[in-house]
């Protein structure tokens, strides 16, 4: 399975993590960008659980949700609202037979290109171990 090339939907908040992903590009970080499909949202708190389910439904092998660092949200606490949804969302995914490891919520600030690259690498590794998502 090591040559498996997963496709990952990455939800990025407009203010921090989208900038972080751009920073990784500006700094020419080594990251598996060909595995990533970035989607910009204004706030990680905008990421409706349905967006995640839809991403898996249309063929993603994994979903990354990245927002501002906790306490730094441009909208005060949108990322905290996003974080609060994650445990429930994980249970829903498990019920659909989707391993919860296929989704990850984390923080990447505007200057953290390095961290963005690391999360992308880690996600690809996780998904290589899990293999492609078997759609029901």
């Amino acid at each position: 399975m090591n040559d498996f090339e997963p496709r990952i939907i990455v939800f990025l908040c407009n203010w921090c993590s989208y900038e972080g992903a751009d920073a990784a590009g500006r700094d020419r970080k080594e990251l598996p960008s060909h595995n990533l499909r970035e989607v910009r949202v204004m706030c990680s708190g905008r990421v409706d659980p349905q967006f995640v389910l839809e991403a898996f439904r249309v063929g993603a092998d994994g979903v990354l949700i990245l927002g501002c660092a906790l306490g730094d949200c441009h909208y005060k606490r949108g990322n905290i609202e996003a974080l609060k949804r994650i445990p429930l969302l994980e249970r829903v995914l498990e019920q659909y037979g989707i391993e919860s490891e296929r989704m990850r919520f984390d923080a990447v600030s505007a200057g953290e290109g390095e961290k963005y690259a690391r999360f992308a690498i880690e996600m690809v590794e996780t998904l290589r171990e899990l293999g492609p998502l078997n759609h029901v």
Partner: protein
């Protein structure tokens, strides 16, 4: 009419051109439904590129545009402006970021081309679902209510007042000028405080665009940025503001003397009084708690003595409704009450006073006409100044007020000038002397003024007791040894605290108070004078302890923020992407209301339906994500648009 989508690929010099197969991308773009035009351009953001784009959009009769190039964080606004000039709604644009998130990070051309192809496909699918959005505006009132007429509030009022902008400056006290007007000298250059501020107070009182309301407090607020309705209550002064000239004939006639606890019977004021000599407006006020007449007794000494017939015993409190566009909270600071800790001896040991009381003693317009006196009327032979009273201790306030070290040095200097033979000591743990002048002032006090410094182990390592004829201070020094010294007078540099008024304001205005009790800024670093509630601002010590220049600076800063947002004669621009609720679907569960950080969710009084205030919504979309019935529409980031993008990405 079928959509006509134009896809433009920016080569960005070699940045994109060399990394992907542009021709292949154009070919596949042309294959998508609705794409009427696909073209690559060298530098789309250059003046030539933008001119070409405008002309090409018009010539190709396009209705929507996809641009594949650099990050939307770089040029989304640039190209939205181009669309506008080409006659297309600027929101009918989608950017595919094939530079930062593709060309720059994928080495292999074929892989980069494949990702770019999918990003462009997603952008095409998304842009099809975009709705045109309007830059809506609403009527707004440019007038401002400033709560608190200290230096911060006065600076804000003076800077914001102008042609077509009315300022209401309300103050709960009978006079304006706050704490600063009652200071004698200001460090580091010992300039006369009243000389500095009196001219400002005069300007405020006579400004044709500033209405000053003394003895006035805010009681209720409704509305939002640009459209607040505020109820204020003005307490009765019992003296006609127009008739009274502050001559003082009534003070002499009044039979009641109210003494100040820290100075005793030696000095006091009458039940009809002006707060201090030189207070503005120079109009007397009757203190209802002490006036005989208000205790049910028959006295009309003041009315009989007044040559201007200015006394109005029958006056009542008045409530007024003010319409304003912005509110500034400049309620200043309170002082830590040292009675909360027995160790300070305050209120129990005579001649233990606070710094603010010392400030009144040295004030030539104060109760002792500027003389530093003990309660028995004699001058002290030795004075101790105690730093960090109620601050930097977990027991009370964990923060440093940041100004006490400097004003305590000033007090030591003032004591030295007046009492050349007195022994003066400072009990401190550390000295906080930041800024360009404080260190120089410290050196001067240390050398010229011969002030001793005794270092304590911790701000709490001190005990003040009554001795035989003297005050005994026991402290643990920095080496851990217990020391004992005797003094005639002890001055406590009490922590600056958030006053009750600020907390009341926070409740009325529904804005957040931080851990230390002061108002919390929307962004403590980049926007320290704005609260998270649009239209509600703060200045000076309401936001946190600070010195006079910083309070003045915040007053001006707040005026700048308001003038930028509310311009007389202009409408208020709304966030075009603000969310809205489809009332047909909404079940009024109010999940959105609990989540909205900007209090934009409104329950209509008439029919209990839920809507989103377009002036308050910042378009984060948190409510849309949480709405269980899917009734919230997050404009430009709608579920349909995101689903379209996801389908495009995955093919």
């Amino acid at each position: 009419m079928p959509q006509r989508i134009g896809v433009y690929i920016c080569e960005c010099g070699p940045n994109i051109k060399d990394a992907v197969d542009i021709e292949a991308l154009l070919e596949s773009a042309k294959g998508h439904k609705g794409v009427a035009r696909a073209q690559s351009v060298g530098f789309l953001c250059s003046p030539e590129g933008k001119a070409f784009l405008k002309e090409d959009i018009e010539a190709s009769n396009l209705s929507r545009v996809v641009i594949a190039g650099c990050s939307p964080k770089e040029h989304e606004q640039t190209f939205r402006d181009v669309l506008k000039t080409a006659g297309i709604n600027p929101f009918l644009l989608q950017i595919a970021n094939i530079r930062e998130q593709c060309a720059w990070v994928i080495q292999e051309k074929q892989a980069a081309t494949q990702k770019a192809r999918e990003l462009i496909r997603a952008a095409i699918q998304r842009v099809r679902l975009h709705e045109p959005l309007d830059n809506k505006t609403i009527e707004c009132c440019p007038d401002v209510l400033v709560v608190g007429a200290g230096v911060a509030g006065i600076s804000a009022a003076l800077a914001a007042a102008g042609k077509n902008r009315q300022i209401y400056l309300i103050e709960k006290e009978p006079c304006i000028g706050g704490r600063v007007a009652q200071h004698e000298d200001l460090y580091p250059d010992m300039v006369c405080a009243s000389c500095l501020i009196e001219s400002q107070l005069d300007t405020v009182l006579h400004h044709d665009r500033i209405e000053v309301l003394t003895l006035t407090e805010m009681v209720e607020v409704k509305g939002y940025l640009g459209n607040f309705m505020v109820n204020v209550r003005q307490k009765a002064r019992f003296v006609d503001m127009e008739a009274c000239i502050g001559c003082g004939a009534c003070f002499e006639a009044c039979p009641i003397t109210v003494s100040l606890p820290f100075i005793g019977e030696m000095a006091g004021r009458k039940a009809i009084y002006v707060p201090y000599s030189g207070a503005l407006p120079n109009v007397a006020v009757i203190d209802g708690n002490n006036c005989l007449r208000f205790q049910g007794k028959s006295c009309s000494a003041c009315a009989e003595s007044c040559p201007f017939e200015a006394i109005r015993y029958e006056a009542t409190d008045e409530v007024r409704e003010l319409k304003v566009g912005a509110i500034v909270v400049a309620t200043g600071f309170g002082s830590f009450d040292p009675r909360k800790d027995d160790r300070y001896g305050y209120g129990r040991v005579e001649n233990v006073i606070t710094s603010l009381e010392f400030e009144q003693l040295v004030n030539s317009a104060g109760p002792t006409e500027g003389k530093i006196l003990l309660k028995n009327g004699l001058a002290p032979q030795n004075i101790a100044f105690v730093h960090c009273v109620g601050s930097r201790t977990e027991k009370f306030n964990d923060y440093c007020s940041g100004v006490c070290c400097r004003y305590t040095l000033k007090h030591a200097h003032q004591a030295r000038v007046q009492l050349p033979e007195a022994e003066i000591y400072q009990f401190h743990t550390d000295l906080c002397l930041s800024g360009k002048d404080a260190q120089r002032f410290y050196q001067k006090v240390l050398k010229e003024d011969r002030v001793g410094f005794l270092r304590m182990l911790h701000p709490d390592s001190i005990e003040i007791q009554k001795g035989s004829g003297k005050i005994v201070i026991t402290h643990t020094d920095s080496a851990g040894e217990l020391k004992r010294n005797d003094f005639d007078m002890v001055v406590l540099a009490t922590a600056m605290e958030s006053p009750e008024e600020t907390k009341q304001m926070a409740e009325i205005l529904d804005v957040k108070v931080g851990k230390s009790g002061f108002l919390e800024a929307a962004d403590a670093i980049l926007d320290p004078v704005s609260t998270a509630m649009e239209g509600i601002f703060m200045a000076g010590c309401a936001q946190g302890p600070k010195d006079i220049p910083s309070s003045v600076a915040q007053g001006y800063a707040v005026a700048g923020r308001i003038m930028g947002k509310l311009q007389p004669g202009e409408q208020l621009a709304l966030e075009p992407m603000a969310c809205e609720i489809d009332s047909e679907i909404c079940s009024a569960c109010l999940t959105c209301k609990t989540l909205c950080a900007f209090k934009a969710i409104v329950i209509e009084e008439c029919d209990s339906t839920v809507s989103i205030n377009q002036a308050l919504c910042r378009a984060c979309g948190v409510c849309a994500a949480a709405c269980p019935s899917g009734a919230v529409v997050a404009r430009h980031f709608s579920r349909q648009a995101i689903f379209g993008e996801l389908r495009g990405l995955m093919g």
